[in-house]
């Protein structure tokens, strides 16, 4: 395991925003202003991997807003300045495509929108941090026939520009595409697969062979890219439901605020074929990462972030 990464809000400095959630039409350059501030904080905390929110440049490929499509080109100077700082800091950027997109949809318009979004986000990520970044995508639904959905996904992935393929990574999920299902598509298309600890446990039956599963995903990554792995723990709290009249039991699908330290240690100790970066998907964002570091120092003192 190489770097720990974080996603979500900056809780250690709540006044910092990853993007402007209130603005109706945020120009990419305004999001970049926010990101200069966030980057300074990430450097202070020695965070080496960060997931940009997908709302960072929301209209980059929106079919009804063509005048926003050139934002990356319009922000070349600002992106170059940021890239210099990102590269100097050794920060790896990642992005997750919105769940509304789908490689497998029978609706050609949805697939076209997926393609356009990937191409646009690729341009943005390349401009921000080059080929070291990762664009993660779920496959979509099954829509009644897994074979047909698989073929649609493969066709779309093979139609991607080489630059997009160089950044893209697929992720299995816990509803439609298990690790094994997604592996088939990853192997056919040579698009690497992100191993997700939570999805893996939620969709497979014990006894879990996490090492074998993890290594099968790591093996899909080309030699020149450091693989990325997701770790999250299920939320366990019983909560009062919105109606305030009943208790809501946890579903095991929601992410918890922190990472369960014993999951973290177990994952970090698995015998692996090659090192990987670990994205912590926890609601407490940077605080969860700082806590994970403390946990690693306590239970796995020989591990050290480079």
């Amino acid at each position: 395991m190489r770097f720990l990464g974080m996603s979500g809000a900056i809780w250690g400095k709540p006044e910092l925003m990853s993007y402007d959630s209130q603005r109706i039409r945020p120009h990419l350059s305004v999001s970049l202003l926010y990101f200069f501030d966030v980057l300074r904080y990430l450097l202070q905390q020695r965070v080496r991997m960060y997931r940009l929110p997908h709302q960072f440049a929301p209209y980059l490929s929106h079919p009804d807003r063509p005048r926003w499509h050139d934002q990356v080109a319009e922000c070349q100077a600002e992106l170059t300045e940021l890239q210099q700082q990102i590269v100097a800091a050794g920060l790896r950027l990642t992005m997750h495509l919105p769940l509304s997109l789908s490689f497998t949809s029978p609706d050609a318009a949805v697939r076209q929108r997926t393609l356009a979004t990937i191409e646009a986000q690729t341009l943005l990520l390349m401009a921000l941090s080059g080929s070291d970044s990762v664009l993660v995508a779920h496959l979509g639904g099954v829509y009644g026939c897994r074979e047909q959905s698989t073929e649609r996904a493969v066709a779309l992935l093979e139609a991607l520009q080489p630059q997009a393929r160089a950044l893209l990574a697929l992720e299995h999920d816990e509803h439609h595409w298990s690790l094994n299902d997604a592996l088939i598509i990853a192997q056919r298309t040579h698009i690497p697969l992100v191993f997700d600890w939570h999805h893996f446990h939620a969709t497979s039956a014990p006894p879990w062979n996490a090492a074998e599963a993890l290594n099968s995903a790591l093996a899909t990554w080309p030699a020149d890219r450091v693989p990325k792995v997701h770790l999250s723990s299920p939320r366990t709290e019983v909560r009062i439901a919105a109606s305030q009249r009943r208790l809501a039991l946890p579903t095991w699908r929601e992410h918890s605020d922190l990472i369960n330290p014993f999951d973290l240690i177990r994952l970090a100790q698995l015998p692996v074929l090659r090192p990987f970066d670990l994205m912590l998907e926890a609601k407490a964002g940077d605080l969860a990462l700082l806590r994970a570091r403390q946990d690693l120092a306590r239970w796995l003192p020989m591990w050290e972030e480079p």
């Binding site: 709540p14 925003m17 200069f36 700082l290």
Partner: protein, 224 residues
């Protein structure tokens, strides 16, 4: 247009009439990259014009939404000044929407040196003085508020003021990784993550140490 109370606002100084004219007529403001504030991201920008700006001087009255930010050179911004010594230096060009007037202008009662003040919409609406606009670090604000509610009068210091002598009964001083609370006979250091996780416990800890110091002082007086 209404904004959420926590909307980020950047208050920026305007030191010459030409810049003030450009803001009003052309809708943009410039910030030298090397003097840009630590927190630049904001939804709104408001201005604090100085003496050179005539009747608008020494008050915050006008604000506008930030629409676009461009990184460029001074000579590109001001092509009629190609021989300026900083012609090739890089500047932010902050482009704004239409200027709006605050319901109540915020005067600077004491003429103070202001460059940039990152603040919130709520402060812009309710401040009585430009000095009220400073919000600094969110956690520090909350900590000072809690200490005030506990009956103390904390004095906020800035990071750049360094670690000189304690000049008041209770000082709250930011450090790179948290905050240092000092009083004449003691100090407590708190890390950023401690403040973020459990502010109440941090306040309790400070109050406990303050109480211990007060007890020690009382004991010394009794023994004398």
């Amino acid at each position: 247009m209404s904004y959420a109370l926590d909307t980020a606002v950047l208050v920026a100084v305007v030191t010459n009439a030409a810049d003030w004219e450009r803001i009003q007529r052309e809708g943009w403001y410039r910030i030298p990259l090397r003097h840009a504030p630590q927190r630049l991201g904001a939804r709104l920008i408001a201005w604090y014009p100085t003496r050179a700006c005539g009747d608008e001087r020494w008050q915050v009255r006008w604000y506008a939404p930030i629409e676009r930010a461009r990184l460029t050179t001074r000579v590109q911004l001001l092509p009629n000044e190609p021989d300026h010594p900083r012609a090739n230096e890089r500047y932010w060009r902050i482009e704004c929407g239409p200027l709006n007037r605050l319901p109540r202008p915020i005067p600077a009662r004491r003429q103070q040196r202001v460059t940039f003040i990152p603040t919130r919409w709520e402060r812009l609406l309710h401040a009585h003085d430009v000095a009220d606009l400073w919000i600094g670090d969110h956690a520090l604000e909350e900590l000072c508020q809690a200490l005030t509610e506990a009956g103390y009068a904390p004095t906020r210091r800035r990071l750049r003021e360094g670690m000189g002598e304690t000049r008041s009964d209770l000082e709250v001083r930011p450090t790179l990784d948290g905050v240092l609370i000092r009083w004449p006979s003691g100090a407590v250091r708190l890390f950023q993550h401690e403040l973020a996780w459990n502010m109440a416990a941090c306040v309790q800890r400070i109050l406990f140490h303050l109480q211990c110091s007060a007890n020690d002082s009382a004991r010394e007086i009794l023994l004398q």
